[in-house]
């Protein structure tokens, strides 16, 4: 373990955090309007962060190229976010403020995020809502016409703005509308169906990417004056997750191999309210929005092996375990806490649903009381689309029988290390949204991912990227520059090597095996010995991949198997780094729960003396990665044990 590194200067503004962002912005160099069109900015990803960054920078007058592997920017996985977006508007008049959202975020992240970044996020939350409404996002409204809001896990105020259970969809359509407006104006070049497979670095500065066109199979280079990665998270390392099937880590992993440090890779969030896994060939897990915990009570039968149907279990034989253990937050405890408790009870054999090796894999989320209190109509109006989705997938009607839910990988707090200006350790490479390691620390609170994506894309990058452009010489880079040719050759070589394996095991097999290994060793609960064994098993699996992969070439340009193989190969590398990071962090914090480090009553036990830092990993070719540290200082919020009782 090495000490703090000079390379890891977060460029935090000095002085009080409450005014840090304003002081930072006031000091950033500017580019005059007439000069902006001389700069080309390349954005990878069309989710909330990428689409909003591309649109906003184009609005300012920069030339933007946006690369996405989707056929349309509207498909990016932000579209699936359900519950809502936080803003410290205090519309509910229940004591909310920027200060309180800031403190909730720092505490929710278990004191493993930067104070200045969290404060900036809370400040920007207000303008985000204004901007989204101006774009035409149809947020839920009260009868009087003002914005409605609800409460979410880990908070005691109502600050979550929502559009039924499809908030991410509506925000993304707002952002892609802004993007398409700039496409029409000729300021954004939209490059769809392209996988970014390599970062081009010229003289130590990020200057472009190599992509594979999914329609033609051709490799192409695109150069730029700055590169922004907004390519999302890596929950698909677990194979079964709430992420879309094509969500992947290739863009950030390729940047990591080129020198970008990777921060806190083991901080991954397992969301408590998902539809439990079923068949062995299941391809994904589906989230049931956390907002359901507002009206749903989580319970299990009080005694083990009670296999009566839920409606026949009387009230006094039910264990509302979250309400029992956490009377002040009840069912609204943060995600990491809710997931852990559900898993523990299922391991004790108290889980419900089809019985596997160790009893059922599920707990009840019961809407009966809310339906009795407010009526069926009110609950359908609030969660209609979620309840329909549940019924389609499981065949059960949640209005007459409790939902069965179980935790599933959902979001990754870890990601490429960035400084306060969102720049990685590769100059000129910025990382936005879930792809960076962000302000969520070791655990993200509900309704804050959309907030962060839009803060990064709409307000932060559009201030800091121009400052970079204004302060650098950035000579032109031709498409046939030696660095471009080398990057292109490396990608071609990689594809040939995968083709040359000539085995008979499909890539999905390897992905499934990787997922089982990772959820078992590096999921809700982790131990040193298990992580150590997983490193060995992972190496064996990688060796099998290199020897047995089936990737026949049928001469067709469109080749989804090749796309998957490239992604899974990168997930192997990332999985190894996650295991190393989880092993090195000998404490429990947020979603990272090491069983060796817990309090007497089973809660996470942080070790602030040894681990009050961000771990940032440096790749070394042919050698073990190096763990750097960025110490965290808390001046506004005093680190305390998170207590939701």
């Amino acid at each position: 373990m090495s000490g703090a590194s000079a390379r890891l200067d977060p460029h935090l503004p000095g002085g009080p955090v409450a005014t840090a962002w304003q002081r930072c912005r006031d000091g950033l160099p500017l580019v005059a309007p007439g000069n902006r069109r001389r700069f080309t900015i390349l954005v990878v990803g069309s989710g909330l962060a990428g689409a909003s960054a591309a649109a906003t920078l184009a609005e300012q007058g920069y030339r933007v190229r946006l690369v996405t592997y989707h056929d349309s920017p509207r498909r990016a996985h932000s579209v699936a976010a359900q519950g809502g977006i936080n803003a410290a508007r205090n519309d509910a008049n229940d004591g909310d403020s920027i200060e309180r959202l800031f403190r909730d975020t720092v505490k929710g992240g278990d004191f493993r995020a930067r104070e200045a970044g969290c404060h900036r996020l809370a400040e920007l939350s207000l303008a985000i809502i204004d901007h989204c409404v101006a774009q035409g996002v149809p947020f839920a409204r009260e009868y009087g016409g003002t914005l409605a809001n609800r409460s979410f896990g880990g908070t005691q105020v109502s600050r979550t703005f929502y559009a039924r259970g499809q908030t991410g969809q509506q925000l993304l359509y707002g952002a892609t509308g802004a993007l398409l407006r700039q496409v029409e104006a000729g300021r954004v070049e939209l490059l769809t169906r392209r996988d970014m497979l390599e970062l081009i670095v010229v003289d130590g500065v990020a200057r472009g990417v190599v992509v594979r066109d999914q329609r033609t199979g051709a490799l192409q280079t695109f150069t730029a004056h700055a590169v922004l990665l907004a390519s999302g998270g890596y929950s698909n390392v677990y194979h079964l997750s709430t992420n879309a099937l094509r969500s992947n880590a290739t863009a950030i992993w390729r940047a990591h191999l080129q020198g970008a440090l990777f921060a806190n890779p083991c901080f991954t969030q397992i969301h408590p309210t998902c539809i439990p896994p079923g068949d062995a060939f299941q391809s994904k897990l589906t989230l049931m929005s956390e907002s359901l915990r507002n009206d749903g009570r989580v319970w299990l039968p009080a005694r083990v092996d009670d296999d009566r149907p839920p409606e026949r279990i009387p009230e006094h034989e039910r264990d509302y375990f979250l309400e029992r253990r956490y009377p002040s937050f009840g069912n609204m405890v943060p995600r990491d806490v809710a997931s852990r408790r559900a898993r523990e009870l299922c391991l004790e054999g108290r889980g419900v649903g089809p019985r596997g090796r160790s009893g059922g894999q599920g707990v009840y989320l019961d809407l009966a009381e809310a339906i009795a209190r407010e009526g069926r109509g009110a609950i359908v109006a609030r969660y209609g689309n979620l309840l329909e989705m549940y019924e389609r997938i499981t065949g059960d009607d949640p209005l007459t029988t409790p939902l069965r839910i179980y935790p599933a990988p959902h979001y990754t707090m870890g990601g490429l290390w960035v400084d306060y200006r969102l720049m990685s350790t590769i100059p000129g490479l910025f990382v936005l949204g879930e792809a960076n390691f962000s302000e969520h620390g070791a655990n993200r609170l509900g309704a804050s991912a959309l907030m962060q994506g839009l803060a990064d894309g709409t307000f932060i990058a559009p201030a800091t990227v121009p400052a970079w452009l204004a302060s650098q010489p950035l000579p032109p880079v031709a498409d046939d520059h030696p660095a471009c040719r080398a990057a292109m050759a490396a990608v071609a070589e990689r594809i040939s090597a995968l083709r040359a394996v000539g085995g008979s095991r499909p890539v999905d097999d390897f992905h499934r095996a990787l997922g089982q290994l990772m959820i078992d060793a590096c999921g809700i609960s982790r131990t040193g010995p298990r992580l150590g064994r997983a490193l060995v098993e992972l190496a064996e699996l990688r060796a099998a991949f290199a020897a047995e992969l089936a990737l026949p070439d049928h001469g067709t340009a469109i080749d989804p198997e090749l796309e998957k193989a490239l992604r899974v190969e990168d997930l192997f590398g990332l999985a190894e780094l996650m295991l190393r990071d989880a092993l090195a962090r000998e404490e429990s914090c947020g979603a990272h729960f090491r069983e060796e480090h817990r309090t007497d009553d089973g809660e996470a036990l942080r070790d602030d003396a040894r681990f009050c830092h961000i771990a940032a990993w440096e790749h070394r070719e042919g050698a073990e990665p190096v763990r750097h540290q960025e110490p965290l200082a808390f001046t506004s919020v005093t680190p305390a044990r998170r207590d939701y009782r």
Binding site: A55, T56, D71, S72, P73, R74, R75, H77, V79, R89, A127, D130, H131, C132, V133, A134, G136, P138, F139, A140, R141, Y143, G145, T146, A148, A163, R164, Q166, Q169, T176, G177, L180, R181, V183, E184, L190, A244, L245, R246, G278, D279, F281, Q282, S283, K284, T286, E388, R392, I393, G395, T458, S504, P506, V507, A550, P552, T556, I558, P560, E561
Partner: protein, 246 residues
């Protein structure tokens, strides 16, 4: 519920946009009714790849009915037999044991086939680029509560804004019209105060672009409404036609 079932999938195979296509039959046995139809295709593809054969190409991503990537015809119906359900949300328990399912791509001139069940729907984005937004730059927005929007008005705008851009409306229309897709976007923004300044221009621009992209007009067969996985009402098409004359 049966423990397992068997299905015959009769699938349109077409290697690339310029090759001729043909149907190919595949028999799958011992399937769990809890598998989704797309998971059955995954299973088939695993088998094909293991045998060195080309897997079936189909578009998909979120598999929870919200990204709009998936979409093909199941027995002639866009997204298959279930109302308000995208094809990724079809589960095998929705089909009878021993059934034959004919899977083929959406058929429309504006949606060229790319491979097997996948088509190119980029024309939709080109329609939206013509004006399917409120022209506002970051930094210009007034306070979000400055515009009061009634609860029902917001809900109605939301209902039309839920269009996922899957193209089922086009595929189910004998004219391959994108009228429901365009009407949904016009109605989303046209019902909100934010959308008023550009309302008339938007209505003309989107409909013109729809024609230019090769989509047909509406003859009120209302198949689009029946096929729409989000249940968007075709009444909005009539509304759109009045919009054009405002």
């Amino acid at each position: 519920m049966p423990g397992s079932l068997s299905l015959t999938l009769r699938i349109w195979r077409q290697a690339d946009p310029d090759s001729p296509g043909a149907f190919e039959d595949h028999r799958l046995e011992g399937l769990s009714p809890d598998l989704s139809l797309l998971e059955a295709l995954d299973l088939l593809n695993g088998r094909l790849v293991g045998e060195g054969r080309r897997p079936v190409g189909f578009e998909h991503d979120c598999r929870e009915g919200i990204c709009g990537s998936c979409g093909f015809l199941v027995n002639g119906q866009a997204h298959g037999p279930r109302a308000r359900t995208s094809v990724c949300q079809l589960y095998l328990r929705h089909f009878a044991d021993g059934a034959t399912l004919v899977l083929e791509p959406f058929r429309a001139r504006a949606f060229p086939v790319l491979q097997d069940l996948g088509v190119d729907r980029s024309a939709f984005d080109r329609i939206l680029a013509a004006g399917g937004y409120c022209s506002v730059n970051a930094g210009q927005a007034p306070d979000a509560n400055a515009l009061l929007i009634g609860r029902d008005q917001a809900a109605s705008a939301f209902d039309t804004a839920t269009c996922i851009g899957c193209g089922a409306c086009v595929a189910s229309c004998r004219n391959a019209s994108a009228s429901l897709f365009v009407a949904a976007k016009l109605a989303h923004l046209g019902q909100l105060p934010q959308g008023q300044p550009e309302r008339a221009r938007r209505a003309v621009a989107l409909q013109q672009r729809m024609g230019a992209e090769g989509f047909g007009g509406c003859s009120s067969h209302l198949e689009c409404e029946a096929a729409c996985p989000k249940g968007i009402s075709a009444d909005w098409i009539s509304w759109m036609h009045r919009e054009g004359r405002r």
